[in-house]
Subunit: 335 residues, 4 copies
């Protein structure tokens, strides 16, 4: 597995300054902070990074800054989708110059294209990209990349992996079963951290997780615990990460909940380029109070002065004993 | 109704040259041809116009060329959505300079945003745009604009209309019932020419129809016949337009079927920026043979040398007599 | 068109007594009331009639009562879908004995079956049914019947029509274009009264409308006005029917809003077999207040003692002048 | 966990005789065969059992036969949904008499009901059922039971579990996190065997799996291996079960692929009550050839005389080494 892209890659947000421009020093500070807390790689211009809300030259600027600041400490997987194949290939060339390890290309969006179009699009890019290409499948936002198409694309040497954000465990297994025997170097990454531990267990190589931009320590720990076979603790933490993930994902239009959380970790991200209505501003404040409590539970931040709602006293203990009890008791006995 | 944006606006394709760049002379020739054949207005940078596959500066170039060439003969409704509110407002300013009548802004896409975000987005643009704004609702590609949100947005003076591509007649009626009493200047355009005549009958002001870039004479005729109360002929032609529309829409990934048809009308559009697979190239040729026959039926092009499949001999007559017979016989008697 | 099933068929609710059993005398009174107010036919065991919440023998009882009471004054189109083909055919035989004109068979539900299964299912029934069969397409509840399947089924003599509840006008046109030239006796009914007038205009033969169980006078009037070419008034009333339809459909889980409305017309329907929660009971009372006002506007019931909210004073006039103004002014001039 | 319903329950098909009636002796033989091969329980009248294609009295007959034949060797979870609450409660009473352990009630189908209706429906049944009730959530076929509704229903003592067929691992975790701390006796069963092992790992109690009616030995083994912490082998077999599951599920309209497979295990199931078209009959034969090869791979049946396509020679080995390699190597080292 040495050669496969693997581990936790952070599709990070981009701090903006008071004028709404890229806040370079804060971005560099954020990159350092993420690397220090153990993420395996960085993923600029992802969906969490709001790639679509930046101008083409800004997307280049972001990748340049991130590559410079990472400075070889961790690999950079750069989102490189532009308006068309030609522009995308030009971005790939620029990103090679910046030192990116590979590019990630989201499937064509806006139009819902069929499999033949999706294939033709990625093929054209793969044939001309000077960097390795990972496919990015996110059916809720972009044209789906179906299994036969993935199989066809895996025949191209330049295509070295896929990030799938569907969260469908069986689909991940189908991809792995179809491709790994023939392409042992092909990487399978999940974009749905709600089920990160099970995904790793069935053979995924890692993931690109918005949550790792908020709690890099925790996502890294999930990865390490799973790899070390410490499933009891891994699954216990997976349940807690799910609670945090759901709060960030379902309490605001994506990725605003993640922005609200990263702020609590001490970064000034500025205002999103997607304006908020007054109701949304109020909801965001309420969400931040909840998130502060969830993050304080992990010890990552101070709890709010007014305190947090008490959890059911025995919840943790109950979970430890019952949720994964039978399965893991057996494991404990064996080890 | 004098003040409302109305009639048939063409969301035209953009001819590309051999190098894949905007083919300016061919675009100008196409604009003239459309105006000569009676379209009421032009709509550059629409979904048919593949706005998303062009770079920002190319979108400006397209609107500049179209405004120049239209030269006041017909109004231009310019698609102006850019990466974010600031860029979009800058485009609006540029398009005012070019002489556009108004801008059309598609609802935020890629992310599926909720109503509050959709509202905040359009509100921010409407407050800063120097040109009138029409909302563009296309739920199959972009975040839906629901009825309460449309009602709220219609309170802003700058928002002067909506183009709805859902094809849902009842939804159009709900919009008209909710807004027209308070905003008699607000324009309702449909993007679904499959039901153009019924839409006009229940009160829509017109439409922006990809098909009008292929058969401008026919869409204009549908509009005029309906306005003139010649429903029998209007509905007969609506059936024939539906057959053509379906062939272009469902035989290839949008808008490739329309590109194939416009070529048959004598324009060199070049290759799409979305590459085609070999299978798609073959299917496209087959589609063009079918389209040639459909267009030849109208007398717009020569039939292919190998001839066309015979239609059921009495189909036209059957339709004329039976499809809309009872309803319209009565109308004939009255007039 | 003489031979085609046509006009407004009422998919009526079934009154229940205090013990939850079929309330025969009230059902007979309701049948008389509907016929007196002009519906062209009756449609027991439809979706509105909650066929799925009755036992097989109850469904037979309902058809028997309705046929007896109609007593040849209007045709009965009897919903006959049972657990499987054999039971369904047995029901068809029973309904022939009761005097039904034809049966309506909903596409297989629960499982989402593909086109081949849908075809095989209807074919088997059509080959054995002693009564004419109409297909019932309601994709939101049952396996969709797609266009090629409809075309294949229309080759069977016993299949004499389709009721389509999708509300998709273009789909209705596609069906009519594909089948009418070859089967002039085949009937096309819409189940979506929100667009009844446009459906009639493009050639539909009529509809089966839950709303006709509430305001039979109004649906009949819409039909007659359209047939008589009085489109201005037809469309004006279509807008008002839409308002009523939406209130009944979207304010409660179907068909409870229709039950609440029929009660206001003076019928004791008893409690639905689907229990209501306390919140739903309260919402239902609020809905009835709104419905009473809407029905009072038509003069069908007395307004509530506490009065109704004032409508915008000029709403009616505005609509009359503007919504369908241009189109219909022309028509007026011609006649 | 002693008290919770747990393990693998088989939602079995029902053999029919030449006249299309329940084939009692074959059903009894099938029940014995399943119990002998280790399933933990039986689940008559499930979706796989085509409950909707039987008459009410036939559903009773099926449960009676199965309870009699099981004769206390394994618990019976009886599907008891009838046309309405009253009929359903009557079925529950009958099933108690037959000796069923509990009933499973599918959420209301045909109509898509909202959460309040779903709640009111299950509450009414739970208050009157003489047997424990498990909820059955299958959003692709029936009204979804959302998380808040499940939480409310879990407050009723009679409601002792849920079977969820969505296959959504994160949703299962959300249910467990919300309910288990307060209802340690509440059972969580998955209906999606494609991810059985991961479901068990995150705390599910078992599943009701159509596949267990075809390869009861294999599903039982997956369960036992997981419980015993032998994850490497469990996941390896999960991949193989997925291949079989996909073949049965996606090659024919459900549950015909499962019927074709059970026949290969030596049972005469007769013809489905859903007729097959000639094309479907041919496809079914082709599917059986494929299934015979898959089942022969496990050693459950003889390979076909004409042989089976060779699998990639090292596929098994590759999978063993690479798919779950890193994770499980560590586990091996620990134990």
């Amino acid at each position: 597995m040495a050669d496969r892209i693997h581990g936790i890659f952070t599709p990070h947000l981009v701090p903006l300054d008071g004028a709404g421009r890229i806040h370079e020093t804060e971005l560099r500070r954020y990159v350092d902070w993420l690397i220090d807390r153990g993420v395996h790689g960085l993923y600029p211009n992802g969906s969490t990074g709001e790639f679509i809300r930046f101008a083409p030259e800004e997307r280049r600027q972001i990748v340049r800054i991130v590559c410079e600041q990472a400075s070889g400490r961790v690999p950079v997987l750069a989102g490189a989708a532009e308006a068309n194949v030609r522009e995308t290939v030009a971005a790939c060339e620029a990103y090679r110059g910046f030192g990116a390890r590979a590019v990630a290309i989201v499937s064509p969006f806006y139009y819902r294209l069929g499999p033949e179009s999706v294939y033709a699009y990625f093929r054209e890019i793969a044939l001309h990209s000077p960097l390795d290409v990972t496919l990015y499948n996110i059916p809720m936002f972009a044209s789906p990349i179906d299994l036969p198409t993935i199989r066809r694309l895996a025949e191209l040497e330049r295509v070295v992996g896929i990030k799938d954000s569907s969260g469908d465990l069986a689909f991940m297994m189908r991809m792995i079963a179809a491709i790994r025997p023939y392409r042992p170097d092909f990487s399978f990454l999940t974009g749905w951290e709600a089920v990160l531990v099970p995904m790793l267990l069935i053979g995924a190589d890692g993931g690109t997780h918005a949550t790792s931009g908020v709690v890099p320590e925790l996502t890294r720990k999930l990865f390490d615990l799973t790899k070390a076979g410490q499933l009891e603790e891994a699954i216990r933490l997976q349940y807690r990460l799910l609670e945090l993930f759901d709060a960030m994902l379902y309490s605001a239009d994506f990725p605003e909940g993640f922005r609200a959380a990263v702020e609590l970790r001490g970064f000034d991200l500025g205002h999103s380029r997607q304006p908020l209505s007054p109701i949304q501003v109020a909801n965001r404040e309420e969400l931040q109070r909840l998130l502060r409590c969830l993050l304080a539970d992990f010890g990552y931040v101070e709890p709010p002065p007014e305190g947090c709602p008490t959890r059911p006293p025995d919840l943790e203990q109950v979970r430890l004993n019952q949720i994964v009890g039978d399965v893991l008791e057996e494991l404990r006995h064996r080890s």
